[in-house]
């Protein structure tokens, strides 16, 4: 009897525009297909319901731009999804109207993740974002007015042309809005993308100057009462004791099982991981015929599972319990990392030091068998 998953991810791929740097599965426009897509999602849910627990801890609607989905379809979807303690929806600032905010709140959404990225217009243009700086501020206001008390902002740093003072100003502008949560990512220019083609040279030129941006972000946010609980994620530490970490994402980092619905969505249940094919037409076709969509399945042997537990666990600020994970570690590499003051082997647990966390990727590669 397989242990049911308590976390559900739903992918809504539709966007008004595909930003140059984006590497998610997205579909531009196609408003005519939103309804059909939601139908398909609900059918896939029916097919897989056996994998889900009766009570879910979290539901996450990611994209794409979930709030670009035609509102009636979005609401119909939210209504039909199982209830959960945390229901997060990703939103682009320019899509958040007072009406949308109220509708989401009314449909049981508890948390909004807002793709702000930057507050400099010039840098928004580089990223090809539709939103303007003021859209972020008004979106926040509408969401607060509708009663949302758990809002996350996404910020991107390392944008071509972004100076250190631009970054500091972005952090100022974000902190003024007092979000419960912040995700801060370094811009990744993937080889071969349109974005890299356009900006790769500029980024390479700026690489040295931007080297300390990560440190600046962490210093500024931790200095402003935020907890650096995951490599790229920060949550406000409130006096009322609310845990404001993203519960859904925390489930990934803790190695929990999850079900993913929609094109390109990934599910991991016990020792199986599968990814739905990213093609919209084929997905709609399969589910309209009552078949599961095409999937790429990966078997996770115990060694792989253990390595993933270490890789994900070391992203968090809490020490990783090592029970059963020793075989996934490279004893020599771990000893080197300890000697360099990057990791602490506590016997029962393993943790990275503060400097170790800045070098988390390299340290993890060193430590993993």
């Amino acid at each position: 009897m397989s242990r049911p998953a308590r976390h559900l991810y739903v992918h809504l791929p539709f966007c008004a525009h595909r930003c140059g740097y984006c590497d998610f599965v997205t579909v531009v426009g196609r408003s005519g297909q939103h309804a059909a897509y939601v139908d398909a999602l609900l059918r896939e849910l029916e097919l897989e319901r056996g994998l889900l627990a009766g009570e879910l801890e979290t539901v996450f609607l990611g994209g794409g731009t979930p709030t670009f989905t035609a509102l009636p379809d979005l609401l119909r979807l939210l209504e039909a999804l199982p209830a959960a303690e945390e229901v997060t929806v990703e939103a682009n600032p320019e899509t958040v109207t007072p009406g949308l905010a109220r509708a989401l709140r009314g449909a049981g959404v508890t948390r909004i993740s807002l793709g702000a990225q930057t507050f400099r217009q010039r840098l928004l243009d580089v990223l090809e974002r539709v939103a303007r700086p003021d859209d972020v501020r008004s979106a926040l206001r509408h969401l607060r007015d509708a009663g949302f008390d758990n809002i996350s902002l996404d910020l991107i740093y390392g944008i071509p042309g972004q100076s250190a003072s631009d970054l500091e100003a972005d952090l100022d502008d974000a902190l003024v809005l007092a979000p419960e949560h912040l995700s801060c990512y370094e811009l990744e220019a993937k080889p071969g993308t349109r974005f890299t083609h356009a900006w790769g040279t500029e980024l390479a030129r700026q690489a040295d100057a931007m080297e300390d941006y990560f440190e600046r972000v962490v210093a500024r946010l931790t200095g402003s009462g935020y907890r650096w609980y995951e490599t790229a994620n920060f949550c406000r530490v409130d006096t009322d004791g609310r845990d404001l970490r993203a519960r859904h994402n925390l489930a990934y980092w803790l190695g929990r099982d999850y079900l993913g619905l929609g094109i390109g969505a990934v599910s991991t249940v016990e020792n199986r991981r599968w990814r739905n094919a990213p093609r919209l037409g084929r997905y709609l076709e399969a589910l309209a015929a009552g078949r599961p969509p095409e999937r790429e399945v990966e078997r996770l042997d115990p060694g792989v599972q253990a390595r993933e537990r270490v890789m994900l666990g070391l992203r968090l600020d809490e020490p990783l319990p090592l029970a059963g994970l020793r075989p996934a570690l490279d004893a020599e590499g771990l000893a080197r990392a300890e000697q360099l003051g990057l990791a602490v082997d506590g016997g029962q647990t393993l943790a990275l030091t503060r400097r170790g966390r800045f070098l988390g990727g390299g340290v993890t590669a060193e430590i993993l068998a």
Binding site: E186, T231, N249, M311, L312, G361, L368
Partner: protein, 596 residues
């Protein structure tokens, strides 16, 4: 075969001027091979040779043409193998000088053409590729005739590709080249011009009978090295091995010796009969010793036994290759190998990688040094890391370099040779256009990038050859490299004291580029003894994280880390520092900017 009806010849040609194609056509036309059997370019049997466009091991093929026995003796075509070429040419009375009619004479052809003339060979000039639209057969004929002091009308015009004119070439061989001289009645003397190793039959010698007759099952002896064996089988290549009872004066063929060690039968040695030995060996034998050394290490230390086996097998067929086990603190277990020259080294490396599927790390080459230690003993050093830190005297090998170059490049050559501690010898005009220069140079100055430099400074026109010219005193010092405070033996080098600072600086700069930033600062130093002469720092990384990791990309991120881990495993560990294999080649690459 009647001695008067034998013709022994080689083909001399620049790379890609059509030597192998012409050889193929000759085999076809004389029906030595049917078209069906015909593999493209039959003579170049090794895969590597074909890809590099060079011939490493000579072979000899016998064909018949209009009642004559023609032996085509193949020659290697590079400066490292000058000695082998000269032995092959010694086995001939004539040579075809093949020149691409679209390219004209090129530098590399000259050294071998002069070698052939020195050996007293009758040269039959051939302008090849006349079917090409860009071909200039008349211009080429004039150029070749000038070179040889011959009549342009006697330059044959052919296309080996289409077969046009190949019959005329065979006729010219018969008509113009002399039959072999030699006394059929005197004691047998046969020149060993090459050998190869067969795993079932042992060493097979390729020979040219100079006097008398060799018979099957006869007891034979090499005159220089004194090795004795019975001739288990005699024969010739047609091109398949064809046994015969005897090989008589003037003939070319093979001798199956049954010897298990190729080094006991050296190229250039003379075979004679044990029962009725000759008094005097044929001239020209030299004991060829490796003068260039490098460390060969498997990139994966588990492959050490495979590398050892592969070297053993290569050695069977390559008497000039030497090797002994070496242990490096940075690179682990490997072998210090001795080579004739850089190309020889390159060929061995490629054969190890290709035929034996080994991944290798080859350290920068160095020469042999003679060192007088404090206690007065002289030792020979093949490895910079064994070079004593305190020495009384040092001697290094010199070469007599011979360079033929168009006159407008004389200045460039003189300049290069001065930079390389050369001493000018003489200058003579071979023709109004072409100059022959001699210099004496330390061998160490030509092992790194001399040939490349010479080529690039003379636009490819220089033809270069050298002979070893003994050891001479040198003001040499050992420069060590320290990475993160740890000496890296594989990066030590011996260098003239005047160049030590520049080389140390360049090496340290290069290493700073090659060693990736790590999780701590890394000091890179060059030092003579305990005195640091150059220093650089690779700054510690300040960030190294996978920015995002959510449910959708756990597998991909895991694979990225696994790849990063595999990359770490390929690095060599120097103390806590991970040094990429490429960094060990840094010493090889500092030549370019060295003194320009």
């Amino acid at each position: 075969m009647d001695q008067a009806r034998i013709r022994n010849f080689s083909i001399i040609a620049h790379i890609d001027h059509g030597k192998s194609t012409l050889a193929d056509r000759i085999l076809e036309l004389t029906e030595a091979v049917s078209a069906r059997e015909m593999r493209e370019q039959l003579l170049d049997s090794m895969e590597l040779e074909r890809e590099r466009g060079i011939t490493i091991k000579a072979q000899a093929v016998r064909v018949t043409w209009k009642g004559h026995e023609l032996n085509l003796i193949d020659t290697p075509g590079h400066v490292d193998f000058t000695y082998e070429v000269s032995r092959s040419l010694q086995a001939c009375e004539g040579a075809l000088l093949v020149v691409d009619a679209a390219q004209g004479i090129e530098a590399q052809t000259l050294a071998n053409a002069y070698l052939a003339i020195e050996n007293g060979l009758e040269i039959v000039p051939v302008a090849n590729k006349i079917d090409l639209p860009a071909a200039d057969p008349d211009g080429t004929a004039v150029e070749v005739a000038d070179l040889l002091g011959d009549d342009p009308a006697r330059v044959l015009r052919i296309s080996a590709k289409t077969g046009d004119g190949v019959g005329d070439v065979l006729d010219a061989i018969v008509e113009r080249m002399p039959a072999p001289a030699g006394d059929p009645e005197s004691s047998a003397r046969a020149l060993v011009f090459d050998s190869s190793y067969d795993q079932y039959r042992g060493v097979v010698a390729f020979v040219r009978v100079a006097d008398g007759t060799l018979s099957t099952r006869e007891a034979l002896r090499t005159m220089a090295t004194g090795t004795r064996f019975d001739a288990e089988e005699l024969g010739f290549f047609s091109p398949a091995m064809t046994p015969v009872e005897r090989l008589s004066v003037g003939e070319v063929g093979y001798v199956v010796t049954g010897l298990k060690d190729v080094s006991r039968l050296r190229v250039g040695d003379t075979l004679t009969s044990v029962r009725r030995p000759a008094d005097e060996a044929l001239p020209g034998y030299k004991d060829v010793k490796p003068m260039v050394f490098a460390g060969l290490f498997p990139t994966d230390s588990d492959d050490y036994p495979e590398l050892r086996d592969a070297l053993e097998r290569l050695k069977l067929n390559d008497a000039a290759l030497m090797y002994e086990p070496e242990t490096s603190n940075a690179l682990g277990f490997g072998f210090r190998c001795g080579f004739l020259g850089l190309l020889h080294m390159e060929i061995v490396r490629e054969r190890l990688e290709r035929e034996f599927d080994l991944d290798l790390l080859v350290t920068a080459p160095n020469v042999a040094y003679r060192v007088k230690e404090k206690n007065g003993d002289w030792i020979e050093v093949h490895n910079p890391s064994e070079f004593p830190r305190e020495v009384e005297e040092v001697e290094e090998p010199y070469v007599a370099a011979s360079i033929i170059v168009p006159k407008e490049h004389v200045g460039a050559v003189m300049e290069l040779n001065n930079e390389r501690r050369g001493t000018f010898g003489r200058l003579e005009y071979l023709s109004p256009e072409r100059v022959h220069l001699t210099h004496e140079l330390p061998l160490a100055e030509i092992v790194l990038d001399y040939y490349d430099q010479l080529k690039s400074r003379t636009r490819g026109y220089a033809s270069f050859d050298y002979d070893l010219a003994g050891f001479k005193p040198g003001n040499l010092v050992r420069v060590d490299v320290l990475v993160g405070g740890e000496p890296v033996d594989a990066l030590s080098l011996i260098v003239h004291r005047d160049f030590a600072y520049d080389r140390g600086r360049l090496l340290v700069d290069k290493l700073r580029e090659e060693i990736p930033r790590q999780m701590f600062d890394i000091a890179i130093q060059a030092a003579i003894g305990s005195r640091v002469i150059a220093r650089e720092t690779v700054k510690a990384k300040r960030k190294d994280v996978l920015a995002k990791c959510y449910g959708g990309d756990i597998s991909r991120k895991r694979k990225l880390l696994e790849k990063q881990k595999a990359g770490k495993r390929r690095m060599k560990q120097v103390g806590a520092v991970e040094v990429p294999q490429e960094a060990f080649l840094a010493v090889l690459n500092i030549g370019q900017g060295q003194r320009s």
